[in-house]
């Protein structure tokens, strides 16, 4: 028996998946299995929670990174939560929350929806699309169809499958490859022009016709929609030319709301009645003092560092006494902390306030010693924990989504936890106690590095970082610039001093645009100014 079992075990082939993905999840079912992409239903071995993983079997495919990147930056009630990303040499698995419920396609197999039911679904879809399109740059779903719309048990609508979404690139004229599902895709998705948000509105129109009539043929559906106003809205959504359609999901939503005045009044009445009921019920419970029996206090997340907690609360818009749940932490993508007082919503805001405090000499070191709280924020993309007492960066190694890390002015002696962070683009290590940065070449997207006031003495400290475009070395003096020519993509460099005074190696850098130097180097700069294809400025 056992040998046969072993033989079978050899036949299945799960080894193609990233090992850390398999360690965390058990594959229960192949939902859609194609050679280039497998969507699998999985179970978290520890928590027992279900999830859906989209595994791109060949990472070199065009849309491979889109789903993960798009999902991880979005947070909306109508979209599944991004849970993580796992990678092997060839395979990329993007894991998202599993959404229990039925697909609109399944629901419609039984019967078309009534007008009020359809309206509930359509209005929610408008809200989701408004959110997606309001991103900067706008996110276009491009595959809106009944199979990708899920109605959850509590009546909410969720939009899944971002496999072919793209961030709208205003510069691109045309989409080159056809994606999407034919019946629900507008003409421009066949390559006439680039798809923008009106693409999704076309598909939403077709979905609308399908919900109301069960038909996807544009003329047949338009004729079958009984409500004349809705029929007009349908025609406008599905106009051949994007210019003839609604300009935004918000505009479509307003049109839908206007389409039936009676329904609105009825809804308002129902809402008033329900609110009154709830009010009486609450009053009843308050009198009977049953309220404390009703709901046990939900468990909140605990933080070690008060400053990190404050920054998380700022991002979530939560006051000091409100509980924070683990689920809410999934939506935190940015944190900005500088010194003991500055907690900001954006990097610009942080820089502005800090600048003011430095100018007035009122900046002081913050209390953060440990970064372990950050591990609770798996979707963190940008983090600033500047001017604190942090000496251990290890927690950052488990946050592969990080794009921006600012840990300047901390007593850090080891940056190895940052090695291999695949999405890291910008890193500020100003004032840390490290002399060699060459191993950061394992971060393939790193283009912007601030290593000012560190222990680096020659360009060799940055050997191999040939993808850098910006290198900031304020308050740092090199012995020599020899070797800088390796950093051939540099567009900007700041440097406070060079001991041998020879700036000529900069002339070899083909893309260099701006060199910002310490005042002491002005004379040396004058010497080569004539030959330079870039401009010098001074601190």
């Amino acid at each position: 028996m056992n040998t046969q079992k072993d033989k079978l075990a050899a036949e299945y082939d799960e080894r193609r998946y990233p090992p850390d993905f398999l360690a965390r999840y058990e594959i229960l079912e192949g939902l859609s299995v194609k050679p280039e992409c497998e969507t699998v239903y999985v179970k978290d071995r520890q928590s027992g929670k279900f999830a859906v993983a989209k595994c791109y079997m060949d990472k070199s495919l065009l849309s491979r990174e889109d789903e993960g990147r798009i999902l991880s930056s979005l947070r909306h009630d109508g979209l599944p939560c991004f849970l993580g990303e796992y990678e092997s040499d060839t395979v990329l698995c993007v894991v998202r929350e599993y959404v229990p419920g039925v697909t609109l396609a399944e629901l419609l197999e039984e019967a078309p929806l009534s007008e009020p039911e359809a309206m509930t679904v359509l209005l929610q879809l408008c809200d989701i699309l408004s959110y997606l399109h309001s991103q900067s740059p706008p996110v276009i779903h491009r595959d809106l169809k009944p199979q990708n719309i899920i109605l959850t048990d509590d009546g909410k609508v969720k939009l899944i499958d971002f496999g072919i979404s793209r961030v709208y690139d205003a510069a691109a004229k045309k989409d080159t490859v056809f994606y999407g599902t034919q019946e629900f895709a507008p003409p421009e998705q066949y390559g006439f022009s680039q798809t923008d948000q009106r693409t999704d509105l076309f598909s939403l129109g077709v979905v609308m016709g399908y919900i109301l009539t069960g038909q996807t043929d544009l003329d047949a559906a338009a004729a079958a929609i009984k409500n004349k106003r809705l029929s007009r809205i349908y025609r406008k959504c599905t106009d051949f030319s994007p210019r003839g359609r609604y300009a935004s999901a918000g505009e479509l939503k307003s049109a839908l709301l206007r389409s039936d005045g009676r329904r609105q009044r009825a809804a308002a009445r129902t809402l008033t009645v329900s609110l009154l009921c709830i009010l009486f019920l609450c009053a009843g419970f308050a009198i009977g003092r049953y309220t404390d029996v009703l709901s046990p206090p939900p468990a909140g997340v605990q933080f070690i560092e008060p400053l990190i907690e404050q920054a998380v609360r700022l991002q979530l818009g939560k006051s000091g006494d409100e509980l924070i749940t683990e689920e809410e932490l999934l939506s935190v993508t940015e944190l900005y902390i500088f010194g003991s007082e500055v907690i900001a919503k954006t990097e610009e805001e942080m820089n502005e306030i800090s600048y003011g405090l430095f100018a007035e000499n009122r900046m002081s070191t913050g209390s953060i010693k440990s970064l372990s709280d950050l591990v609770m924020l798996p979707n963190l993309q940008c983090v600033a924990v500047a001017m604190q007492q942090v000496d251990d960066l290890t927690p950052l190694a488990s946050l592969p989504q990080l794009r921006v890390i600012i840990v300047k002015n901390n007593p850090i002696e080891d940056i190895s936890p940052l090695y291999g962070l695949k999405r890291l683009e910008k890193l500020s290590l100003f004032g840390i106690l490290v002399s060699d940065f060459s191993q950061l070449s394992s971060c393939p997207r790193l283009v912007d590095l601030d290593a000012g006031a560190t222990l680096a003495r020659t360009p060799a400290a940055f050997a191999g970082l040939d993808m850098l475009t910006n290198l900031n070395l304020y308050q740092l003096t090199f012995d020599t610039l020899d070797g800088i020519e390796q950093l051939r993509r540099l567009k900007f460099i700041q440097l406070s001093g060079v001991v041998d005074g020879d700036l000529s190696p900069l002339l070899i850098l083909p893309e260099l645009e701006t060199v910002l130097l310490g005042e002491s180097l002005r004379d040396n700069a004058e010497e080569i100014k004539e030959q330079a294809h870039f401009t010098f400025t001074y601190e």
Binding site: L8, A9, E11, Y12, E29, G30, V52, Y98, T103
Partner: protein, 157 residues
Amino acid sequence: MQTDNTETVAIGTSTLLRRILKTSNLRSFLDQNAASMTVPTFVEYLDRLCSERNMVREHVILRAGIDRGFGHQLFRGSRKPSRDNVLRLAIGFGLDVEETQELLRAARRTRLYPRYKRDAAIIYGLSHHNTIIEIQSSLSEMGMTLLGGERHEHTER
């Protein structure tokens, strides 16, 4: 149930496929097998299996290890089975792998793929006509989720 020339009891897709490959006359094939070529509902499919295999519902439910009340709801069509429960019904009927794939298709659930470890273990159990207890215990032995351990009746594709 059968007349001399035409079958009124419909047959599985694999049988149908074999007949297409063997037939020399497409038209007579299409005429003779018309009844088999309409897609049956899941409930019809279950009833068809019962009569083909001369089994009663009660017996299948017992061998599938499904709760009795729930099992009868599945046969009546008042509940839709999850994929795991379709697999349990397949074990209850004693179906082989190919027949199980057809049952999954009739229930509009995804097929078994040998490439996934858990599916591979289930395929092994089906092909050896193991009982539900044997299959569950080998899943448990290998640290995998038991049949019926997927909580959601999910429909995402």
